[in-house]
Subunit: 222 residues, 2 copies
Amino acid sequence: LLQARNLRKTYHVGDQVVHALDGLDLDIHANEYVALMGPSGSGKSTLMNMLGCLDSPTSGSYVLNGQDVSRLEDDALADIRNREIGFVFQTFNLLPRYTAQENVALPMIYAGIGKADRMKRAEEVLAQVGLADRMDHRPNELSGGQRQRVAVARALVMRPSIILADEPTGNLDTATSLEVMELFADIQKAGNTVILVTHEEDIAACAERTVRLRDGRVESDS
Amino acid sequence: LLQARNLRKTYHVGDQVVHALDGLDLDIHANEYVALMGPSGSGKSTLMNMLGCLDSPTSGSYVLNGQDVSRLEDDALADIRNREIGFVFQTFNLLPRYTAQENVALPMIYAGIGKADRMKRAEEVLAQVGLADRMDHRPNELSGGQRQRVAVARALVMRPSIILADEPTGNLDTATSLEVMELFADIQKAGNTVILVTHEEDIAACAERTVRLRDGRVESDS
Ligand SMILES: Nc1ncnc2c1ncn2[C@@H]1O[C@H](COP(=O)(O)OP(=O)(O)OP(=O)(O)O)[C@@H](O)[C@H]1O
Ligand SMILES: Nc1ncnc2c1ncn2[C@@H]1O[C@H](COP(=O)(O)OP(=O)(O)OP(=O)(O)O)[C@@H](O)[C@H]1O
Ligand SMILES: [Mg+2]
Ligand SMILES: [Mg+2]
């Protein structure tokens, strides 16, 4: 389903050259549940942005569902991002002037879903992450863990076939983390693919396979 | 050192009333190392903002070092915040247009420290969190865990007597978390007070005392 070959991502900061991804190969099949681990700065978020079609590599190839992503037009890419992929950002990326419900409803506007249906579906998903009583709060009126759960809800709202979650439980207590992990387990049971970045071994243990990165490459895979 | 009595913080969102703090009492003595835990939304960050003089309660009192904080002038409060307290925010709060080094140097400008000394001290603290090679990167050129460590470094740079750290290891792998926890242990050994919010039991175990919140009050304290 997802095939990355010799991915490189190189940044230049002043005279410094940073190899965020340094020749990375990875295959992920449909309906797999993969945990992605590795030290801070090892390239996990950079890789997730490639897999989620949010960024393109300096070199190397990425084939998604048989299509070479670098060959796709902007419209086709935007369509894939909106309908096929649900992305939970490490820093949430919520819109500050909109409520939790409006933030979660956002992907459905692009898909042309009517307002009443959007609000109803957003409410449903927010209830699944325990935030039924916070729907009208804006991000600055929410706790850190509540914002994180709004980000999770927004990623799930279009029922995408691929979930890319970058440290989705980093700000959650154990009980709430387990609720979120239950959701991801249900998503996989429904036939979808889940890739989640975590630095907690307990969370990684919920996945079937753990890929570990170091210095922009795959160090181990089991 | 820190004495909170019957703290209340009430928010109004539309018709909804939220009791973020609901009559909270807490005493913390000089040189203590306290872990603050509790479910997402239980009031930890709200309490930390009170203790750090960043926000004032709806009612109740907070006495810091013998002074009633609600009686202090803005200047006196700003002075305490800058010299006495180091705050690590749950969402980092770095300035996006400044480098890691400039962000860490910021508290020293207020204190009137000269530029060469500021840059040298900022470099020293960034090295302590393993970011010597990322000093010239801006926040959007850093990984999530690197930003978190810049936030930690900024809190330590003025060698404050009270460290308030709101989930300082949430985005860090185990090895890097231990490095940061070592720093906090050193700070306490130097005679200072450390209060840290975490949802990880292993991290809380590094403290001498764990205060657990639920629904805006102290549920247990050991
Ligand atoms: N400005 C605000 N307006 C309305 N409600 C708020 C506001 N700020 C916080 N809250 C609410 O107050 C409660 C406590 O928030 P707080 O940020 O202290 O929780 P927390 O314990 O730090 O949670 P987390 O572990 O998720 O970071 C939450 O339920 C939150 O929705
Ligand atoms: N825009 C950029 N410019 C320069 N360097 C960058 C940029 N973005 C990321 N980097 C560097 O690339 C490396 C990989 O970053 P990435 O965000 O993928 O790490 P990560 O594995 O997600 O780390 P963490 O666990 O801390 O979130 C880091 O060392 C970072 O400093
Ligand atoms: Mg990351
Ligand atoms: Mg919080």
